[in-house]
Symmetry: C2
Subunit: 210 residues, 2 copies
């Protein structure tokens, strides 16, 4: 009965409040735009006075920082789920990775701005918040290497291509699919140049043998 320090209680409650604040921040970000969220509005949504938020976050940027880490962790688990049985054929696999990242980014403008663009004036993620991002990128690079892409330049071009399509989609056709539907074609173009085996039935059969 004794010996279990109730330090858990307090930590749990604290974590709960943190969650509430972050949820309010996300909802505000989606409502008024990532850059336009205000501590006053977050506090109102949580039922606090603005300065009380400082009991849980050191600053507004600390909130952005937590959101940043959260976003990349979310993508990490999303991609782990969506790419678990990675398609055997290299070209299909690379298409799938690109598609998963593209759809994740396009699904939430505010999140994408936070993750991939430098849209918040004074904000820069701390090292530990940045860690999941580099983990994801390094994992992607390793994946692409394992599919036979030896030249790192090819990886850089691949990343640029996907990022460019995402930006164009969100900037020029938000909610539509003008650029989304070009993704496969663009990646195929890249795969041809990078020497990824064509996706013919014969090639697929050959690949299955491994």
């Amino acid at each position: 009965m004794l010996g279990t320090p109730s330090r858990n209680r307090i930590a749990e409650r604290r974590e709960g409040v943190r969650r509430e604040i972050l949820d309010a921040a996300w909802s505000q970000a989606r409502e008024v735009g990532l850059a336009n969220i205000t501590l006053r509005d977050i506090a109102r949504e949580v039922g606090m006075q603005p300065p009380s938020l400082y009991s849980h976050f050191d600053s507004k940027n600390a909130i952005y920082n937590a959101m940043y880490a959260e976003a990349w962790l979310a993508y990490e688990s999303c991609s782990a789920a969506e790419l678990d049985p990675l398609p055997e054929h290299p070209r299909v696999a690379i298409q799938r990775i690109a598609r998963v990242f593209f759809d994740f980014a396009v699904a939430d403008l505010a999140r994408h701005q936070l993750m991939n663009q430098r849209t918040i004036p004074g904000f820069e993620p701390t090292a530990d918040a940045y860690a999941p991002a580099v983990r994801v990128l390094e994992h992607g690079a390793a994946l692409v290497r394992s599919l036979g892409i030896t030249d790192p330049a090819d990886f850089d071009i691949w990343v640029s291509l996907i990022g460019g399509l995402i930006d164009q989609q969100l900037a020029n056709d938000p909610g539509g699919d003008r650029f989304s539907r070009l993704l496969e074609r663009a990646i195929d173009m890249w795969a041809d140049a990078a020497g990824v085996p064509k996706h013919s039935p014969a090639a697929t059969r050959a690949a299955r043998k491994n």
Copy 2:
């Protein structure tokens, strides 16, 4: 001797002050970042009190707006100069267009953020400030069409590819050339897929005949 209304004088001086303000805004933007410029600092650099700026611009966003128009006009005249004798060979021409745009964007981070990213919270260019931008884009599209690219999707991919490389260059290797040196290779990849004739001596000779 008479009949020349001195309305010119006053208009000229007004235009001069506008120039001073915009120059100060650009210099501040390059110094502290586009989003971090402040009316107080601009006013100080011009030798005014902050509210006096309102005699020349309706708001801070109006300054951004003028800078936006200026940036695109600058690119328009830059590209007109750099692309005047457009290389005859389609592939070389398309490489050159991409290179000119890439270098112009990478040369000035603040300007690129203003022109091509939505990095200023409340700012959206007015129709007349936006006009040069659509003119440039439409001109580019027409140019690409004239080089034999019939599918608009190819143009969209081309734009995405260039934009993606620019963003990566500025975000991950500012001042370097990690992505800049991949531009030609990436555009060649695209040109292969889009069916732009290869750049062989024979093809060049054939193209010269037109």
